[in-house]
């Protein structure tokens, strides 16, 4: 098939070459991030601290995008008009698209001494979060994990012990059923399942399953472990009385004290605490991992990607990236959000987060899960993102209707195989 360059077409369509950056004493790096509601203050603080230590670099923020999705769209648009920022923060599952579009710079050349780099807190498992097929394209900046939010008052009312919250699926579902039985207006469990297939990955990971093989050629989520994950979804529906709510309805119910247990991302912890206030005793427990040996949990959150191919800027950009993802940056992120540290030194060295966890016990759950951190899997190819939506909408049938989990999962896996093979 003959392929045509879009750059020629784009040059004809768009009067390219916006403002060439003026040569200045200091190096300017332009940074774009998404979700100002979560990251705004964090980004400002990191940039200010960085510029204090590196007076030769000036960090300039573009106006942030509302969501990760908008952010990636915008970078792709800007790439067509040749006006990309030098550094972008994107959702960890969207690093892939920037790599496939040849916008993200491979980072291996910048890591001179891998051992010293690991020493600085960039361990192999944390680096893995920013890799696409083994190539390092991003540094993890903020990591959220699936956690269990619960209303300790309702748990106590239902006869459970809020201080000894279940750590396995059977007990969790039984407790959900007990809470559900408290009244018509009270619901037991809500397993958040909207927007992306992230929580499906969490269910599969909990049983130690895989979505695809290492080479990303074979779909694996319909093996025995995947089937246990699908059966789990059906149990929420059948045994724990999970209501067919959408995300915001569930959120409102939980905050109003009418939902006992909500499984969702730790990223919402700060917002959840604000929304609940003093209405009830909000607590957070670890996400049950059924297979303690091979189990893993998908890591949500953001990664930092280098876009600029200008050598002088690359040097400054790399310094900034390693600062933001380094122990100091990670500590700022953790203190101002519900994210887990994405730097091992920040987690281990008490000078960074020493007293924080003692004072904020609800943050402990996501920290305890760091050992299980796995990638936020993105399916390969042009249909990769679309497949995610297909998985979402199909598996909702298991939660909302009386669809048989095994049959639904097998049919879904066939569809996904066919889509990916196209």
């Amino acid at each position: 098939m003959k392929r045509f360059s879009t750059s020629v077409a784009a040059a004809a369509l768009i009067a390219g070459a916006f403002a060439l950056p003026a040569q200045a004493q200091e190096t300017e790096i332009v940074v774009h991030y998404a979700m100002p509601g979560v990251f705004g203050g964090i980004q400002e603080e990191i940039a200010a601290r960085f510029m204090e230590e590196n007076p030769d670099v000036r960090v300039i923020f573009r106006s942030p995008s509302d969501s990760y999705e908008d952010g990636v769209q915008r970078v792709l648009r800007e790439s067509m008009s040749g006006d990309t920022p030098d550094i972008v923060y994107v959702g960890l599952n969207r690093i892939r698209i920037l790599a496939e579009r040849e916008l993200a710079q491979p980072l291996a050349p910048f890591i001179d001494d891998p051992e010293a780099f690991a020493e600085a807190g960039f361990t192999d498992s944390l680096l893995g979060l920013g890799q696409v097929r083994g190539t390092q394209y991003g540094l993890a900046f903020a990591a959220s994990t699936p956690v269990v939010y619960y209303n300790a008052d309702l748990v106590a009312q239902a006869g459970g012990d809020p201080d000894a919250f279940p750590d396995n699926w059977d007990d969790l579902i039984a407790l959900g059923a007990q809470i559900d039985a408290l009244g018509d207006e009270i619901d037991g469990i809500y397993y958040h399942f909207w927007g992306s297939d992230w929580m499906w990955q969490a269910a599969v990971g909990s049983f130690g399953g895989e979505l695809m093989d290492e080479a990303e050629e074979v779909v694996l989520f319909d093996d025995e472990r995947g089937h246990r994950a699908a059966a789990l979804l059906a149990r929420f529906r059948d045994e724990a009385g999970m209501p067919a709510y959408d995300r915001s309805a569930a959120q409102q119910s939980f905050q109003a004290g009418r939902l006992g247990i909500k499984l969702d991302s730790s990223a919402f912890l700060a917002r959840m605490e604000d929304g609940v206030g003093d209405r009830f005793d909000l607590r957070v427990a670890s996400f049950p991992v059924a297979d303690r040996e091979n189990g893993w949990l998908p890591t949500g959150g953001a990664g930092i990607v280098m876009i600029t191919d200008d050598e002088a800027k690359q040097e400054a950009a790399w310094r900034y990236m390693t600062f933001a993802a380094g122990p100091e940056g990670a500590a700022i992120v953790v203190r101002n959000s519900g994210y887990a540290p994405t730097n091992q030194r920040a987690a281990d060295d008490p000078q960074f987060l020493g007293d924080f966890y003692a004072e904020n016990p609800n943050h402990q759950a996501t920290r305890d899960q760091v050992a299980f951190l796995g990638p936020w899997f993105a399916y390969p190819g042009e249909r990769g993102v679309r497949v995610t939506d297909t998985i979402m909408s199909t598996l909702r049938d298991v939660l909302d209707t009386d669809a048989d989990p095994a049959q639904t999962l097998d049919a879904l896996a066939d569809t996904v195989r066919a889509e990916l093979a196209r």
Partner: protein, 321 residues
């Protein structure tokens, strides 16, 4: 997007041209040339704008629909009609097409009929005209995205106002936005709520334009009952207005997007997937711009066919005063 307003004003414009034509006949060739040049000069800005803003982009989209271009990709290949072939076998597209047609099928007749009823009641009412006019028009003046959020609170299955009220009278309210069989009709209800005010204003304008002497004449001819007056005078005289309202409502409801994007994201399980939302997901979320372009072309074709049918077929039966 196609704006039907010119279609209505085209009729008088034609008449004006016919009347103006004879005056130009006797003048010499030079004057005629000058007139023509002036005409071209006057038409150029509008034509240029239309080419640049409507026709150009449409052609570009048509071109893209024949490629496999991924949003932001550096290269593309021509794949002929593959995108259209894929559409034929794509269950999500089929679902969103059917859903859109159902949505239009509900919103268009109901909102036109209700708007006409409201307009007649306000026109015939003795008091509170301004109040009712404003009340019905408010949804039009507000931002749908913000209003959708309000609807979300009202329709909450457990805490929402609607189900709380139903509970007061002993009914268990459904999950308005997550029941697969219901969600599309809930959205249609919001669509109707949003459209009535706009249609009502158009009908009110149409009603005011009906000369009073026609009613007197009808009275003389024996149409004493309100229904007779409505059938012999109001309804025929409202023909052009009704045609305009139907066309614009159909097009507006074909474009349903905000309520879906805010309230349901096409879910649960594609139950509220509609054309524009699918188009947006494919192009900008899945980054499949070529396929998204093909969807756009199909969408435009539907709008065009719909408009043509309505103008051609109904136009013949409409009585222009």
């Amino acid at each position: 997007m196609a704006d039907p307003a010119p279609a209505i004003s085209a009729v008088p414009a034609k008449q004006v041209l016919k009347q103006a034509a004879p005056r130009n006949e006797p003048s010499g060739g030079k004057a005629r040339l000058r007139d023509r040049l002036a005409g071209i000069a006057l038409a150029t800005p509008a034509t240029a704008l239309m080419l640049a803003l409507l026709i150009g982009p449409t052609l570009a989209v048509g071109f893209l629909s024949l490629t496999d271009w991924g949003f932001g990709a550096r290269s593309f290949a021509f794949i002929g009609l593959d995108n259209y072939a894929e559409m034929a076998g794509d269950p999500v597209f089929r679902r969103s097409l059917i859903n859109t047609l159902v949505y239009v099928g509900v919103v268009m007749p109901v909102s036109v009929a209700l708007a006409l009823a409201v307009a007649l009641l306000i026109q015939g009412g003795r008091f509170g005209r301004t109040f009712f006019r404003t009340a019905y028009f408010l949804p039009v003046a507000s931002t749908l995205v913000a209003m959708a959020t309000v609807w979300q609170f009202m329709l909450h299955p457990n805490l929402g106002l609607v189900n709380e009220m139903l509970r007061l009278v002993g009914l268990a309210g459904p999950n308005w936005l997550t029941d697969r069989g219901l969600v599309l009709f809930t959205l249609a209800g919001i669509g109707i709520w949003e459209t009535i005010g706009y249609n009502m204003i158009l009908f009110l304008a149409g009603l005011m334009a009906i000369p009073g002497h026609l009613y007197e004449a009808a009275e003389v001819d024996g149409a004493h009952r309100p229904l007779d007056k409505f059938l012999t005078v109001t309804w025929p005289m409202l023909g052009p207005t009704t045609l305009f309202v139907i066309v614009i409502t159909a097009i507006r409801s074909f474009r349903v997007f905000e309520s879906v994007a805010v309230l349901t994201q096409g879910g649960p399980g594609n139950a509220s997937q509609v054309l524009l939302f699918t188009m947006y997901r494919e192009s900008f979320v899945y980054f499949r711009a070529g396929y998204g372009a093909a969807l756009t072309i199909v969408f435009l074709a539907f709008i065009l066919i719909l408009t043509l049918i309505q103008i051609r077929v109904i136009d013949r039966r409409v009585h222009y005063a």
